[in-house]
């Protein structure tokens, strides 16, 4: 018994040694948002193979998944992400404000640093029993809508802005009408999950709600996982082009000496191989050739961009999702 403090010290030593030894490896940490886990699981392996072929070196990429806002918070608190691949630009802007990467990060890679896009669609139960065809149908009597909480989920913010933007663009549409519509919409939400994947599970696995407002990628994947006989996808008359951006976290990459690797990793997503992978996981690719190849997979959708409707994410965040912003106001009004 006398010796056990020694054992404790030895164990502690071993762990610290283990952590230090791991840090020596050729590693890359990608801090990502929730519904990209399948995409990056495959992309990490594919990139490692391509890197090995090019440089002869082994690399191991780890991805951490979670709500976009929460993940951004973790990086601010010191989670050493070499790259971030989040749901929306604001979550990376915050990191830039903290000096973790350059403020002009979004202009460093093509297509405002978004190698893939998606759009907001509706997932309904097979046969569309509630006859949901467009945004107005969501606020009909007796329709339950599943969408996550915009305060914590990046995907949910795109959903919110899609609804708002649609209302704004209707004949005679204005801010007041948009606010009235979106207020109504959230009154139809029985469960507010913290993240997009949680909301999908609520709708798909637990069978709650009549319609899930989801990214097209989530909707297509649910359909593939569970069979086309269970769910239908409904494309609204107008939706938003969701652009989830990617960036190298300068401060961390320089500290780890992984800048070259991190940049190569993100650029890999723009290559034909990377784009093909993106499309296979139901995100819309940027390369025209790949878009054409997967044309059958994606229904034509009329979309507007965030820039067209709301300026940029800094403005959208401040107006709609900051504390005391529009979302807080309407959810208070709803009670």
């Amino acid at each position: 018994m006398r010796r056990f403090p020694l054992i404790v010290f030895l164990a502690l030593g071993a762990v610290f040694y283990g952590v230090a030894a791991q840090a020596q490896d050729h590693r890359l940490l990608n801090v990502s948002f929730d519904p990209t886990r399948e995409l990056y699981k495959e992309a990490n392996t594919a990139f490692a193979a391509s890197w090995k072929q090019q440089t002869g070196k082994d690399v191991r990429v780890t991805t951490s998944n979670g709500g976009s806002g929460k993940q951004s918070r973790a990086v601010q608190d010191g989670l050493e992400a070499d790259v971030v691949t989040l749901a929306l630009a604001w979550d990376i802007d915050v990191l830039a404000d903290r000096g973790l990467l350059a403020k002009d990060w979004q202009s460093r890679l093509p297509d405002h640093s978004t190698p893939y896009t998606s759009t907001v669609v509706f997932l309904v139960r097979k046969g569309n029993p509630k006859q949901i065809h467009d945004w107005p149908d969501l606020v009909r009597e007796g329709v339950q809508v599943i969408t996550p909480n915009p305060k914590s989920s990046g995907g949910a913010r795109w959903n919110f802005l899609a609804a708002w933007g649609w209302a704004l663009r209707q004949p005679g549409g204005n801010t007041d009408k948009a606010r009235a519509y979106v207020t109504q919409l959230y009154l139809h939400v029985p469960v507010l999950d913290a993240g997009a994947r949680g909301a999908t599970n609520t709708f798909v696995q637990r069978g709650i709600g009549d319609v899930l407002i989801a990214w097209e990628s989530e909707a297509l994947q649910s359909q593939q996982e569970l069979g086309k006989d269970k769910f239908d996808i409904v494309v609204p008359s107008l939706s938003i082009l969701a652009e989830p951006p990617v960036a190298v976290v300068d401060k961390v990459a320089d500290k780890h000496g992984t800048r070259q690797l991190a940049e190569a990793y993100l650029k890999f997503l723009y290559t034909p191989e990377g784009q093909d992978l993106v499309a296979r996981h139901f995100y819309r690719p940027r390369l025209p050739a790949v878009t054409e190849k997967y044309a059958a997979q994606f229904a034509p959708v009329k979309t507007f961009t965030l820039a067209e409707a709301f300026g940029d994410w800094r403005q959208a965040q401040a107006t709609y999702f900051a504390d005391g912003g529009v979302y807080d106001q309407i959810s208070e009004a709803g009670h």
Binding site: I7, D34, T62, Q76, E80
Partner: protein, 292 residues
């Protein structure tokens, strides 16, 4: 300390059970079945629901194996540390009178009263990059939060009270006479501790350690905040279960339950050891003074 009393040989007079007793017993059994047994059965049913192949694949996944290993490592550090802290705290509380003793007693219970999530957040606020010591630690290349040391810290915090709370009442009941006797016979402090006090409380100590271990391996909230959720690096088994479950597909859910059943087995094993200890040494647990 109800578990200790259960070894007493008290029996009600007569074998008949009144209606009131019967209803109470039925109610208790119903609660146990509905709240404890059924969920446990569901875990195992779901784990094997997709067949052995899915179960084995889930367990054999490299990230899952790292999670198991990490959970065991964290427990292997946190439990001995808590054993030392708990012994020291119980010794202080029962052998000395000092200013702030009440405060110490309250502090020992703090991890029971504070939500684990808050415990985790406090760790981030103190040791995170923007925290009180975080900048200094970062400058010296020490990573606490989002690394193994943070997991250990959070686990030590939440599992802290078990050992002390087992020992303090026992040490209070046993009193100090034997220690005093040893002292008059010329024993040193360490001799008294290892030859008199420790043997007196060893089964209660083991009991506390086992409870502390069960908690350490099962902790989710506090660990979730400080982990960073890196599969294969900082995901303990409970976090891995959650992460795999959120994969959402039917096979992912089966895999999550497979891991959950493994976690349940680890904790059940702990409780089984606890039962064995009680069974073998029940008399000593209940009446440690009569051991001689």
């Amino acid at each position: 300390m109800a578990t200790l009393d259960s070894h007493a040989t008290y029996r009600p007079r007569g074998l008949g059970v009144s209606v009131g007793q019967g209803v109470l017993i039925a109610l208790a059994l119903l609660c146990v079945a509905g709240l404890l047994l059924l969920p446990l059965l569901v875990v195992f049913a779901e784990a094997f629901g997709k067949g052995w192949a899915v179960f084995v694949a889930a367990i054999a996944d490299p990230d899952a194996r790292t999670a198991v290993w990490l959970t065991l490592t964290v427990a292997a550090i946190a439990v001995p540390a808590n054993m030392v802290f708990g012994l020291a705290a119980a010794w202080l509380m029962t052998h000395y009178d000092f200013r702030g003793k009440q405060l110490l007693g309250a502090l020992i219970d703090l991890p029971f009263s504070v939500s684990p999530v808050v415990a985790g957040l406090v760790c981030v606020l103190v040791y995170g990059v923007n925290g009180w010591f975080g900048g200094w630690l970062d400058a010296h290349g020490v990573r606490v939060i989002f690394a193994v040391p943070g997991l250990v810290l959070a686990t030590v915090f939440v599992a802290f009270p078990f050992v002390a709370r087992e020992l303090i009442p026992l040490m209070q009941t046993l009193g100090n006479e034997e220690e005093h006797a040893a002292r008059t016979l010329g024993a040193s402090g360490w001799q008294i501790f290892f030859r008199v006090t420790l043997p007196k409380v060893r089964w209660a100590l083991l009991y506390g350690v086992l409870l502390s271990n069960a908690r350490s391996m099962g902790e989710f909230g506090a660990v979730s905040v400080v982990s960073g959720h890196l599969p294969g690096l900082t995901n303990t088994l409970p976090l891995q279960v959650d992460q795999v479950y959120n994969g959402g597909s039917a096979s992912a859910i089966a895999a999550a339950f497979a891991l959950a059943s493994l976690l349940a087995l680890l904790t059940l094993l702990t409780l089984l050891i606890k039962r064995l200890v009680e069974w073998r040494h029940g008399g000593e647990l209940a009446h440690p003074v009569r051991r001689h």
